[in-house]
């Protein structure tokens, strides 16, 4: 079957859907129908690319020449398809959940919300399928812009301040990325992403390499939430919860770590990373971020903010996987993209359901809620235990490979960091569970029941997915197979 145009359609379908979404602004049911339809079609298109990706093939499409000799190129390689499957698949659940959430919370300007959401997904898939740096930059900036209306959705002072902080960080990052791309083009004469990198075998001075690397790190690191440039992420939690769930736990932040792996594996390559000791920088940053973010999570009473710090920490697991520059470490990092996505989206969904149903957003108010919302809290337990890395949930698999990967590289400190971080994860999630299950709630809880099925069903599905993929990582989507293939391509320089 001819797949050439499938990546383009996969990017465009949600962009096209913006038009009917805007046109049916006065008929909410129809409008949400378009969102769901676009989500399902998008996922279907991405799935069409899966078999060839599993075989290690890349579907390349040059759309138009966007700069002299640089095409706007979509290349659905295994890594891109891996990310696209996760983002587009979870968009379906998020769309259903959004309907329940936005209507339950009585939010205004829902048309703008659903339209922006669709644009965000288009650019996320665009990022996943970017075949070269310039294409990546273009979709990366569109994602920044499309997320902005979602961050400021509430239009109160807090939201506007959050929006400004968000733009300040991400626009600066975008510019650093532009500079880094320009310098790469100048130094290597190409902007392509190649497994194994384009910097190998070039004689470039160490300060220059460091400068380019730091610009890249600033560029993609902001969205990846590495410290000390992570603070926009907790602030961006003023957005409606589905935004936090899909964009600020999956699409946007994963675009950041996706970018880091692209930069490490496809621009610099493991040899250049090691030759110039760039991986050490990355590893130190990742290690510090993992520990500090987990510690900071303890201090947050606001549930979404605690989850946000947890996200910051877990994103750096993936960064750590890239920094190890060992095949198994890379596999672990890539696996964690999928693992963290399903678990963290579950947790955010839970937080949103609690907010819409009980109007509570602080952890100290959650006493006894497990009695009222048993399904939601059950899913919460699954998600949080998974993130702590308890087998057989899917957080365990990725962590295991990260640990083996660091041993493979002869390093013990990363293993130690992983262990400590696992304990800290238990430490900051357990109080929530303990309050929900074992503390007695106030009498006002009795008038409430479980949240709307629009929310509970997606929660349960993502929670179940966390378990299923923990037990069978190769089921349906061949996540593990893909991750190993990607890592193999990066380190052996071929497909």
């Amino acid at each position: 079957m001819e797949l050439t145009y499938v990546p383009l359609f996969a990017v465009l379908v949600s962009l096209v859907a913006v038009v009917p979404i805007l046109l049916s602004s006065h008929r909410p049911n129809l409008r949400e129908f378009w969102t769901i339809l676009a989500a399902v079609i998008k996922f279907g298109l991405v799935l069409m690319l899966l078999p060839s990706a599993v075989r290690g093939e890349t579907v390349v499409l040059d759309i138009i020449e966007i700069a002299p000799n640089v095409p706007l190129q979509l290349a659905a390689d295994p890594f891109g398809v891996f990310f696209a499957v996760i983002a587009s698949g979870l968009w379906i659940f998020t769309s259903f959940y959004s309907i329940g959430y936005m209507r339950g919370a009585g939010e205004k300007k829902q048309t703008r919300y659903f339209a922006s959401f669709a644009v965000c997904l288009s650019s996320t898939i665009g990022i996943a399928f970017s075949g070269n740096l310039l294409t990546f930059v273009i979709f990366y900036e569109i994602l920044t812009l499309a997320t902005y209306p979602l961050v400021i959705h509430k239009e109160n002072k807090e939201a506007i301040a959050g929006g400004r902080e968000y733009l300040a960080y991400t626009l600066t990052a975008g510019l650093m990325l532009v500079a880094a791309a320009a310098m790469t083009y100048y130094l290597t004469g190409t902007m392509d992403f190649r497994p194994g990198g384009v910097y190998g075998g070039l004689d470039i001075s160490a300060p220059m390499m460091l400068a380019v690397f730091m610009l890249f790190l600033g560029g993609v690191g902001v969205k990846a939430g590495i410290m000390p440039i992570h603070s926009w992420l907790p602030t961006a939690m003023v957005a409606p919860t589905p935004v936090s769930a899909l964009l600020h736990a999956v699409a946007v932040v994963k675009s950041g770590v996706f970018g880091i792996i692209r930069v490490v594996g496809y621009v610099f390559g493991s040899d250049a990373m090691a030759d110039y000791s760039l991986n050490d920088i990355l590893m130190v940053i990742a290690g510090i971020t993992i520990i500090c973010a987990s510690l900071l999570a303890f201090r947050q009473d606001n549930l979404k903010r605690r989850l946000a710090y947890s996200t910051v920490g877990h994103l750096s697991y993936i960064v750590l996987g890239a920094a190890l520059i060992t095949p198994l470490g890379m596999t672990g990092g890539i696996m964690h993209i999928a693992a963290h996505a399903t678990m963290k989206i579950t947790l955010f969904f839970c937080a949103g359901a609690i907010y819409v149903n009980l109007h509570k957003e602080n952890i100290s108010d959650l006493n006894g809620i497990a009695k009222v919302m048993p399904w939601t809290m059950g899913a919460f337990v699954i998600g949080s235990m998974g993130l702590a890395g308890i087998p057989p949930l899917n957080g365990f698999v990725s962590k295991w490979y990260l640990a083996i990967g660091s041993l493979e590289g002869g390093m013990l400190v990363p293993v130690l960091i992983l262990v400590i971080s696992g304990l800290l994860n238990v430490g900051y999630f357990f109080p929530i569970i303990w309050r929900a299950y074992f503390k007695k709630g106030g009498p006002e809880l009795e008038k409430y029941g479980e949240a709307s099925p629009f929310m509970v069903v997606p929660i349960m599905v993502t929670a179940i997915l966390s378990i299923v993929f923990g037990l069978f990582p190769d089921l349906f989507f061949h996540f593990f197979e893909l991750a190993s293939a990607i890592s193999n391509a990066i380190f052996n320089g071929g497909t």
């Binding site: 138009i64 700069a67 310039l134 812009l145």
Partner: protein
């Protein structure tokens, strides 16, 4: 053959219309604006035709009346001048269509004079771009400047004063340029650019030549509002009538920037320019200061037109910086930005005009979220142009920035690179400030949001469509920039 007379047709057409307009205007005042649009339209069509026709031809040296220089007047129609001519004439055409209702509202009794002078202004600009002679360039410069003073004086109560101020500064600039030309004439004995260029290397290091370069750059820099010769610009653009600022702002400084390219890169060439004094670097540093100064001042403004005026100072800095880099990417960036910025600024000043027309003001602090309902398409155009100014892909502004960035990287000029990046952020600050006001309710309002914030009150099609044309143009230029860049690449001066 019409093709061989194109330079004359394009420019003299404006002269004819500047006379026709008063003749018809006495009879029927309403005819002035259509005639002016028609005049600009004819020139625009011919310039586009000429640009395509001469795309792969050798440059045309057009001798008026067949008289050879130094006696006759020579126009040079090569890729570069043809490109700039297309940009200014097409933009003038669209701006003049847009001005119809504004003219009726803002200066109903001066329409005849206004449009006649506007034609003279375009004659001056076209002549400046096309001429092959340094002295004729001065003549056309003065025609354009005098018309500009007159156009700016039609406006608010403060307009005559700002026009007078511009007159003083502009005349000084023009005189300095003329002085520089005089020096060159005494040394080389010719005024013709093509004749003079090969002679200059013989006089490399000659004090008179170096003085001449500096005088000419200062003189043209004044017209281009290169920092620190920019003082005339903010007041002029702010107080001039909306239609004048929409006409002058996009193209006035661009033509001066074009003359800088001619003088710096074609007449002298980069080697000669930097032989004794590092002139190109100095100009680049001034451009950088202008970029930062303009952006910072723009943040501090409350009046939309004034903000745009300061932003112009900053953007002209991009163009001049690109010229000063003197490498292919810098050159591409500069020329692409001449086009992009002209379209962006025309669009933005039209939005300001539309708002003034409907709301009676363009004071940012009074903007409110009802505008997005009242003027959805005007605000859409504003958003597109603003995002393009910030330089986000896939809009046009991103690509000129991209080539400039490549140019700075190629020149190993990290200072300039940092300036471009920082200024993009500053642009974001002042444009998102406006977007926030327009698209979001004021968080201090305790009144619950009404779903129905205002009726659609969009401006009439004669104003809306020209604005939209530019907004859509920005998207198209961005996506298809390679086609334009390929043409620009043919214009890259030798010696890079």
């Amino acid at each position: 053959m019409i093709e061989t007379h194109l330079p004359a047709i394009i420019s003299l057409n404006f002269l004819a219309f500047s006379v026709l307009i008063p003749l018809f205007g006495i009879w029927k005042r309403e005819l002035c604006q259509p005639l002016a649009s028609l005049g600009a339209g004819i020139s625009a069509v011919f310039s586009v035709y000429g640009f395509i026709y001469y795309l792969n031809e050798i440059p045309l040296r057009y001798l008026f009346g067949g008289w050879e220089p130094p006696v006759g007047i020579e126009f040079v129609y090569d890729g570069l001048s043809a490109f700039v001519i297309v940009v200014i004439n097409v933009i003038a055409f669209i701006v003049l269509i847009h001005s119809r209702q504004l003219a009726v509202n803002e200066f109903p009794n001066k329409q005849m004079a206004y449009y006649s002078v506007a034609m003279l202004l375009m004659l001056g600009f076209n002549g400046m771009v096309l001429t092959g002679d340094l002295f004729n360039l001065f003549v056309f410069l003065e025609i354009a400047s005098l018309s500009m003073y007159a156009l700016i004086a039609i406006g608010d109560r403060a307009a005559p004063f700002s026009a007078f101020r511009y007159l003083i500064i502009g005349t000084a600039g023009g005189t300095l340029y003329l002085l520089g030309v005089g020096f060159l004439y005494t040394v080389t004995g010719t005024l013709n650019i093509i004749d003079m260029a090969p002679m200059l290397p013989e006089f490399a290091g000659n004090t008179a030549v170096i003085t001449a370069v500096i005088l000419m750059i200062v003189g043209i820099g004044t017209k281009a509002a290169l920092f620190p010769m920019h003082g005339w610009l903010p007041d002029s653009y702010t107080y001039a009538a909306s239609s004048s600022s929409a006409l002058i702002a996009p193209i006035g400084t661009k033509v001066a920037a074009y003359v800088l390219i001619r003088v710096m890169l074609y007449l002298f060439g980069i080697e000669l320019l930097d032989l004794v004094v590092p002139i190109s670097y100095t100009v680049g540093v001034l451009a950088c200061i202008g970029i930062l100064y303009g952006s910072i001042m723009a943040i501090a403004q409350n009046e939309l037109k004034r903000m745009l005026a300061y932003s112009s100072i900053s953007q002209i800095g991009y163009i001049i910086m690109g010229i000063s880099l003197a490498n292919p990417f810098g050159f591409i960036g500069a020329l692409l930005h001449i086009l992009n910025h002209a379209v962006m600024k025309a669009c933005l000043f039209m939005v300001a005009a539309n708002l003034r027309h409907k709301e009676g003001h363009s004071d940012i602090s009074l903007f409110e979220h009802s505008y997005r309902r009242k003027y959805p398409w005007t605000m859409f155009s504003f958003s597109v142009a603003a995002i393009s100014m910030v330089g986000l892909p896939p809009l046009a502004g991103f690509f000129s920035k991209w080539y400039l960035v490549l140019g700075t990287v190629e020149a190993d000029n990290w200072l300039f690179l940092a300036v471009i990046l920082i200024s993009s952020l500053l642009n974001a600050v002042y444009f998102f400030r406006v977007l926030e006001k327009v698209y979001m309710k004021n968080p201090d309002d305790e009144v619950p949001v009404q779903d129905h914030v205002g009726e659609n009150n969009e401006v009439q099609p004669s104003m809306l469509y020209p604005t939209m044309v530019f907004a859509v143009g920005l998207i198209l230029i961005g996506i298809f920039n390679v086609a334009i860049v390929a043409m620009i690449m043919n214009m890259i001066p030798s010696g890079f």
